[in-house]
């Protein structure tokens, strides 16, 4: 527990950037879902770290992190279900094929 706060934040930033890049650039829908998990985990890391170091009530951030984990699980389930549904109609999980909402 001697690592300074900045290290955690930099790591979290890297994680977030990686997630954003994945979301924007991955061609595979599964990959995009995984990248979203990366973003959520970067947030979780931040919540936990801040609750340990600067918060006067450390429980709050940690409990919040659990909520995010639950949300991520639910989101992944829904996301996967959507991907499955689209796969059935398009026979593909490529993101550029997912333009059903086009004008």
């Amino acid at each position: 527990m001697s690592l300074p706060l900045e290290h955690y934040l930099i790591f979290s930033l890297l994680l977030l950037s990686l997630g954003i890049f994945g979301v924007l650039a991955r061609r595979n829908a599964i990959g995009v879902l995984i990248a979203i998990e990366l973003i959520l985990n970067a947030v979780n890391l931040n919540l936990v770290v801040f609750s340990r170091t600067v918060s006067s009530t450390p429980e709050t951030g940690q409990i919040f992190a659990f909520f995010v984990i639950a949300l991520a699980a639910a989101g992944a389930a829904v996301g996967l279900a959507i991907v499955m549904a689209i796969y059935r109609s398009r026979k593909s999980v490529q993101m550029q094929e997912f333009n059903l909402m086009k004008w």
Binding site: I20, V23, L24, A25, V32, M95, Q96, F98, N99, L100, M101, K102, W103
Partner: protein
């Protein structure tokens, strides 16, 4: 009892209503209805007249007809000796003429309309006679004018009749406008138009500056209605109407209404020494001028028309000379013998089919009743005693003599001479001698027509007697309301003169015309300037044509052209301008306003076509934009 007076004009008015509305249904019963109404008026009127005569005071009654501001108009009746006299004349002569007309108009297609108009006229005339108020008087005066117009133009298919009716209406209108202005002036001056209050009000306001003007303007009504110089030109033309109308309206009653107006306004007129001579001179000029024109007239009705004008001039002159009774007396007698003359002329026209006396002649044997009654009337108008005309004309000449103006006396005497002459010229040419036109087969008129002739002939003989010295000038005293106990002196010199003049006129006519037209033609050549003047009716019509009608028409044409070119031009210009402007407006609307609207539409369409390309449907594109936005917000948030 007295209030029965209100019902006097009602009968004829109802007859008018029935005949005009149900003319098709009543057909020839129209005459019966009108005559019955007239007889009813007679029966209502005579007891009232008897009461006036026996009780010696006027019967009055009124009600508030209308309140103008806080000035109530009391309309009602005033039956004084004056009104009673005229009431007798109008109901009696009117009834007789209508009986005659039933025969005369028998073959006329518009029979019921004729009697409708005559009944309306009777209603108006009776209202006028018993009116107690100048305004009521004026209203019925105007209705009579309307009836006159309708009846002169009764033969609507004749252009000359239509023109004559227009001429009569417009000429009398000039006088009527004066009359109405006179009434307004009078009201301003004395504050009342009621005959009952007239005497008192005039004497209270005798100094009022407007009063003489009011008197003169009211006299204008007489000039128009009674065909006095210079507005006499309508009456000869009015002879275009059916002959019974000429007898009733244009000889016996309506034209006498003007004289009656003077008699009614006498208390007003006699106050002003500057007004009376105007009246006297107007009457004298009229009497002489019309007699002069009558000398050469060849249409039987025109002779009688000019004679009527002349006799009306006599009446007006008598009034102007201050002898209201003489004027009214002559009015009464004249109504009988002039109606008789006209009806006789109608009978002649009926029998011969012509109005030109040069074509007649020798009718005495074929039309005995007509000829004898015509002779009686001619003697009456010529002033042969003891017939009616003698007594009344003598009264007028006496008044002229006593007025101290020798010129008026001389001119009126000369007129009396001419009257006797032209009447006997007419009689001789019509009834005596040999028939001049072999194509005319005259026949006597039916009894329906000759009956009234005989009654009127009896009237022409007898009606003068109440005013004669034999009955102690009962009529004159009656008119005066019994105030002036008989101060009438019989001036035998004047009387003798008047008889002599009349007989001389008759004699001259006999001498000249006894052997046909030959001598008359030689005489006409000898007196060419006079003959030309007379036969051209003193060029009155031509004079009016040049002085009034042509300038009027020229101005009218000018105004018409102004109307057509300037006013119409303005209107049309405004129309065309509006059209042009609206076309411009339409273009503006079409291109600018519609353009804006359409542009909004097109622009929206085009821009949305552009902008919808942003909606790719690819989630990653949207996310890219979201993240770019977050980064931008962070960037701006930091600064």
């Amino acid at each position: 009892m007295a209030d029965l007076a209100y019902w006097i004009p009602v009968g004829p008015f109802l007859a008018f209503g029935i005949n005009i509305l149900f003319g098709k249904q009543v057909k020839h019963k129209a005459a019966l209805i009108s005559i019955a109404a007239s007889v009813l008026s007679c029966l209502l009127a005579w007891p009232l007249m008897y009461r006036v005569a026996s009780e010696g005071h006027a019967l009055t009654g009124d009600f508030v007809w209308l309140t103008l501001g806080n000035h109530p108009l009391h309309f009602g009746y005033l039956i004084d000796p004056l009104a009673a006299t005229l009431l007798l004349v109008v109901t009696l002569v009117g009834t007789l003429i209508q009986i005659y007309a039933a025969g005369y108009m028998h073959d006329e297609a518009r029979f019921s309309r004729f009697f409708a108009f005559v009944s309306l006229f009777m209603a108006a005339m009776l209202t006028l006679v018993i009116a107690n108020h100048y305004l009521l008087f004026f209203m019925s005066w105007e209705v009579m004018g309307l009836c006159s117009y309708l009846l002169i133009g009764f033969y609507t298919e004749k252009d000359s009749a239509a023109n004559a009716s227009k001429k009569a209406f417009m000429t009398t209108r000039i006088g009527d406008v004066g009359f109405f202005l006179g009434l307004l002036t009078l009201h301003v001056a004395i504050g009342t138009l009621n005959f009952n209050e007239l005497h008192e009000a005039v004497h209270l306001n005798a100094g009022h500056a407007l009063l003489p003007m009011a008197a003169l303007l009211i006299f204008c009504g007489t000039i128009g209605k009674s065909a006095q110089f210079p507005l006499h030109v309508w009456l000869p033309d009015a002879m275009e109407g059916p002959t019974p109308v000429s007898a009733l309206i244009h000889a016996a009653t309506m034209v006498a209404a003007g004289v009656y107006l003077v008699a009614r306004s006498f208390v007003l007129l006699e106050v002003f020494p500057q007004v009376m001579p105007v009246i006297a001179v107007t009457g004298t000029i009229t009497a002489f001028m019309a007699a002069f024109i009558a000398l050469t007239a060849t249409d039987i009705k025109k002779v009688l028309a000019y004679s009527t004008i002349s006799q009306l001039g006599y009446m007006v002159a008598a009034m102007g000379l201050g002898s209201m009774m003489a004027g009214m007396f002559h009015l009464t007698t004249h109504a009988f013998f002039k109606a008789l003359l006209f009806l006789g002329a109608g009978s002649v026209i009926h029998g011969t089919g012509t109005q030109d006396i040069r074509e007649m002649g020798g009718l005495f044997g074929k039309m005995k009743s007509t000829a004898i009654t015509f002779l009686i009337a001619s003697l009456a108008i010529a002033g042969v005693p003891p017939l009616a005309g003698f007594w009344s004309k003598d009264e007028i000449l006496l008044a002229a003599h006593d007025s101290g103006n020798p010129y008026i006396y001389f001119i009126l005497s000369l007129t009396a001479f001419m009257t006797a002459f032209y009447m006997f010229r007419l009689f001789i040419l019509t009834f005596l001698g040999k028939p001049r036109n072999p194509h005319i087969h005259a026949h006597e008129s039916p009894a329906l027509m000759t009956g009234p002739l005989w009654v009127l002939a009896a009237g022409s003989v007898l009606i003068g007697l109440p005013g004669s010295p034999w009955m102690h000038h009962w009529f004159q005293n009656f008119l005066a309301g019994g105030h002036h106990a008989s101060e009438h002196v019989v001036n035998l010199r004047v009387m003798g003169m008047s008889v002599g003049i009349g007989l001389a006129g008759i004699l001259l006519a006999v001498v000249i015309y006894a052997r046909g037209l030959g001598m008359a033609e030689r005489l006409a050549r000898a007196l060419r300037p006079f003959h030309t003047a007379s036969i051209n009716k003193l060029w009155f019509d031509e004079f009016y044509d040049i002085v009034f009608i042509r300038p009027f028409k020229a101005v009218a044409r000018l105004l018409f052209r102004f109307d057509q070119q300037v006013v119409d031009g303005l209107v049309n210009g405004a129309g065309r301008g509006t059209g042009g402007l609206s076309r411009l407006h339409q273009l503006f609307d079409q291109y600018v306003i519609d353009g804006l609207v359409n542009f909004t539409g097109y622009f929206t369409q085009w821009w949305s076509a552009v902008i919808r390309r942003a909606q790719t449907g690819l989630v990653q594109n949207y996310l890219l934009i979201v993240f770019s936005g977050v980064i931008l917000l962070l960037y701006f948030g930091m600064h």
